[in-house]
Symmetry: C3
Subunit: 174 residues, 3 copies
Amino acid sequence: MAIVLITGGARSGKSRYAEERARRTGARLLYVATAEAGDDEMARRIDEHRKRRGEQWITVEEPVEIGRRLLEQRGKIDAAVVDCVTLWISNLLLRNGDAEREIEALADTLTRLDYDTFFVTNEVGAGIVPDNALARRFRDLVGWTNQRLAQVADEVVLMIAGLAMNVKKGGACD
Amino acid sequence: MAIVLITGGARSGKSRYAEERARRTGARLLYVATAEAGDDEMARRIDEHRKRRGEQWITVEEPVEIGRRLLEQRGKIDAAVVDCVTLWISNLLLRNGDAEREIEALADTLTRLDYDTFFVTNEVGAGIVPDNALARRFRDLVGWTNQRLAQVADEVVLMIAGLAMNVKKGGACD
Amino acid sequence: MAIVLITGGARSGKSRYAEERARRTGARLLYVATAEAGDDEMARRIDEHRKRRGEQWITVEEPVEIGRRLLEQRGKIDAAVVDCVTLWISNLLLRNGDAEREIEALADTLTRLDYDTFFVTNEVGAGIVPDNALARRFRDLVGWTNQRLAQVADEVVLMIAGLAMNVKKGGACD
């Protein structure tokens, strides 16, 4: 019942890695997509991801209620990929939700699942400080969420150029 | 008399890690805060950090003269945290100081201290190239400063999601 | 005939590291500079790099045809540094080239060389998502290129504060 957090920059191979890891756990696979197809660019990306995964996967589009979606799959699946934490945070902010409470609730939920979960998140805080306050609030929340999920995670991985570096569990020498 | 450089993105747990490491060295602890409470957002952050540290710490607010502050504590403390190098660079630029000379002077000063120092800095160069020249100058200076401090450091740590990855000294397998 | 990919943020010591590694392979050294001296800031940077390298190097300025330049040096040199992949991608985009095809062609070319190649690239995707579509396209392409080059590379290195972390080959414990 491992919890795995996969972080990294944009286009660093995070989703692909999460899917490969999930596939190794069994045949009953869930994909929780937090993206909403708001524009053509995003719709195209969602479609690319879906094609790559193939038909072995059940895909659920869920912008906000990740925890509930994961709980209702107990006893039914081998693994779930949640892609991605960053868009979930963005969705919470757009809805004026209580993000801190939601993050805490998700961290609690994870420990009650009976299958492996692979969370895709992003490194968003290694550039110049953003000009606008909303972007800074987003950046802070993503950082805190990553820390909170890393606390409950059995394994944390940093993706660089499509390659996984171990951050938690066993270290870089596994 | 170890010099430790702690780098990472925003909200990656750098300050907390620096404080924990400092606490393990002894009871006489100095916190050099380079932030100036220029607006409410920053004032709130400074206050949060201060509350978290508790009363075991002497806090000095020093936007520019870090080296002098550190030197005057010789023989008096067990460890110092400097938080953060990035704001110090920003303060130097705003005052039109000779940043390169100040950075060099700080690196020299560090080797003359008789207690452990923990420097918090940021990764600011892993986003898109900034539009404006001042941000690019800032980004370059932070990069150079990080390299210079890493040269004199006994240990360099990269924070990812609140977890420390060893970059210098002992490698990731310690 | 090693292929080495060196990635990292701005001013993290990537070029210097690439040059040092190349120097260790032999005396006949090629430097492929993808930068074009379009403004004073860039002209100054190019000049700084050239002075640092010294006269042991042949420098070729080539914004686009990297693969061709590398192929024509077969049998003539010990090592080449390509600095940098990110500017090459930018140059391809500015010329409306078929970037994906060029990237694939370069990856193929690399496997046919008879000397060591050191590619300098950048981490550009660890900040906030850029506002404009061209910057997002650039960011995506750089990410994909880094992944593709990492696939054919014998070694991938992440630079942090001037220090090299092994990402591929031997891991962090070498």
